[in-house]
Symmetry: C2
């Protein structure tokens, strides 16, 4: 058996897992994030020791440790450059882990890691070329080309949420205007939903939110659309259009086998992918002469972080 | 010496060249395109024989033949799927060449081939990761990642001109709206120039065109801007903004070492690249933590087709 350890550093907690060579998590543990990088790393090293001890393994039996990080990392140098939510700046994470555990250690951005997980062990494991959007507070992006993670020069590409969809659009957190993220993140969908509710006081979405617009979530429009509310259906139709147009830009550049949707909105599953597929088939000229890209929802859920991090060691 | 033959199929003519292992064209010939694929291929085979004979070489001394095609090709199967300007549909070009010459034969899209030429022997030869726009009637795209041509799944990606810049923009030839091509092709620049001239009858651009708006070219606004015409400067500033925003979307996905501009508009050279570089440095958040992408103009001109095609054989 070939064992690896995958670590998923999140904004709230650090999860670590022992993973077998089928991408199955055998043992998992979780710690709240500590207030600074040194304390986090100390915990992380303890978590790895816990995984080894509780499975009666020594570090020599582990092929390596992979770590997914929520921010900018330099895979070549092993340095975590910047994690906005944790306040890490220029942390030599690979070096610090290897001072304790003498095995290969690799780091990558968390959205890249999620894409690698789905492309290696998840919904897209049959395909060679996959791209992925993580539709959450922002829009993360991952690319797996010829079964290998591709994260751009210096590991600093892969920001698939930051191509422009409307040069005159709303300001994006990145400083530009009208990025894909401003249209298809959960944050954007919530904004679009609220706007539609304010324009239609009779929409069923008000009842769904018990009259409180602050209860709107990424599910509100979808659930009410399924129940026939016209205003909600318009929100969903527009969202599908924005999402499909964003995806099509990438299809024209990469023509991947699969495009994976992750994050909370992807829980809409086939209801969402059927609509996006239908839109892309109608408007994507590339479909006339190349195999159709499958639009798929992620299948590994919260495990993708650990599984994908472990898959960095292959 | 390692010899290859590069063939550049264009809308008007087919050029073939004998290329040495420094990417230098030793001997070149050209034929007008014939009315159908079979006749074109017959000429092409004659051109190859001419190159061999006039250099006293046999086919055994050639490491291979590369062909750049203006349209959709399938590099894996060796089939030219569709060349709109030549009317070729489903032509098994590699097979037809190999029936006569038993050497490796490879095909690729012409914009990809141009990018490979610049990345291997031209302005970007020092860099590992390069993207390229060919700014002509349309906008072609090429990607060279880790020094290797990347043209997407089934060779059908690389349509860098067809990511959306304004989802509400003008119709694009591809069927969508507001693609990069509708903003930064020479065709688009000419349209933008004419619009500005019609709004300012005193612009120096009228004199530059001898009062005839049909004489507007991709040079009109640039040349008059350099001479101080305010309306022309506004056209150039807007064009630079569109081009820079298009490029920045790709920087966020690929973070390449170099972004190359080819096609007629790239003859503006440093005047253009200085402005684009300045815009990207101001607005690209990625620049804060990764090496800056060099914005460069293509250096191989019309030879890029033959040189890049020959570089497919490496």
């Amino acid at each position: 058996m070939d064992w690896t350890i995958g670590v998923d550093i999140g904004g709230m907690s650090i999860k670590a897992g022992l993973v077998d060579d089928n991408g199955k998590i055998i043992k998992e543990c979780r710690e709240k994030t500590a207030p600074n990088a040194d304390a986090c790393i100390k915990n992380l090293l303890n978590q790895i020791n816990f995984l080894l001890d509780s499975n009666q393994l020594t570090i020599k039996e582990i092929s390596g440790i992979g770590v997914g990080c929520p921010g900018a990392v330099s895979p070549d140098t092993g340095i975590v450059d910047f994690l906005p939510n944790l306040g890490w700046v220029n942390v030599p994470l690979v070096k610090k882990i290897q001072e304790v555990f003498e095995v290969p250690v690799k780091i990558a951005n968390d959205a890249s890691v999620a894409a690698l997980a789905e492309a290696t062990y998840g919904v897209a494991k049959e395909y060679n070329n996959c791209l992925m959007f993580t539709l959450g507070t922002g829009v993360g992006g991952g690319m797996v080309l010829d079964k290998k993670l591709y994260d751009g020069g210096y590991g600093r590409g892969g920001e698939l949420g930051h191509i422009v969809l409307d040069i005159n659009g709303e300001p994006c957190t990145c400083g530009r205007r009208g990025c894909v993220e401003t249209f298809v993140s959960a944050t954007a969908l919530i904004k679009q939903t609220k706007r539609a509710m304010l324009s239609d006081k009779d929409s069923a979405m008000w009842r769904y939110c018990e009259g409180n617009i602050e209860k709107v979530s990424g599910k509100t429009a979808f659930e009410c659309a399924k129940n026939g509310d016209k205003t909600a259906q318009k929100v969903v139709d527009d969202y599908v259009m924005y999402l499909s147009e964003s995806i099509m830009s990438f299809l024209n550049v990469f023509r991947p086998d699969a495009f994976i949707l992750g994050g909370g909105i992807s829980l809409q599953g086939k209801y969402l992918t059927d609509k996006v597929t239908e839109y892309c088939e109608r408007f994507d000229y590339g479909y006339k002469s190349a195999p159709k890209t499958k639009i798929l929802c992620a299948s590994l859920g919260n495990d993708a972080g650990i599984i994908g991090a472990s898959a960095l060691i292959k």
